[in-house]
């Protein structure tokens, strides 16, 4: 039900990338590439994310094996998230992507303005 009726070559890849490159993953991964972080450290580092979404993102990333969750049984408990070796291999693809985005941002902004102007003009 994912392998059977998905005729596309890229479908499983797409699904994987959705898991790993979703809305908050880039930010989380970026933080964790720098240093291991606790839950609330991450919240502070990424102020726009809500608890719920951050939790969901961390679970998803953990499930896919790109980050690790370590529970330090103090009182109150401390939880430490860190990137895994697999997670580190994601760095390069992400950097390539971000580099593309940076380099082409101006061109794309122009393209958008032009498009919107044409739209407004009734095409």
């Amino acid at each position: 039900m994912d392998t059977a009726d998905d005729v596309h070559i890229e479908a499983p890849h797409r699904e994987l990338l959705d898991q790993v490159l979703d809305k908050w993953s880039l930010s989380v991964l970026n933080e964790l590439c720098e240093r291991a972080c606790r839950f609330n450290e991450l919240r502070r580092a990424i102020p726009q994310v809500t608890q719920k979404s951050l939790t969901a993102t961390l679970r998803r990333l953990e499930r896919n094996g790109v980050i690790e969750r370590e529970v330090v049984s103090t009182r109150p408990v401390a939880v430490r998230y860190r990137i895994t070796p697999l997670g580190k291999t994601l760095r390069y693809p992400i950097d390539v992507l971000l580099a593309w985005a940076s380099q082409n941002m101006p061109v794309i902004e122009r393209a958008r303005e032009d498009f919107d102007d044409r739209e407004e003009a009734g095409r």
Copy 2:
């Protein structure tokens, strides 16, 4: 309202990548990298996409300047989509990403199984 209160470095990039790497974009871009296509050719090439979603995807990609829409005024009209030079530069980042996905798919599937087993075991 996108540059002002988005404290994040990557926020505009994220938004850009959302536009360009969304659910159907990879498939469309892949097709158009091969050859210019008409609307219904694309539908046939990507059977799972609905008209509505395909139209939306094409508009979005066009707006961002990675594809072009050419209307041939015959009767009935023909519309031809093709990749732009900017669009072609997206090829490399996408390939890097897909390569990462292919290479690590087995590892990730293992990670998922392990995670799910731990979950089921009550952790």
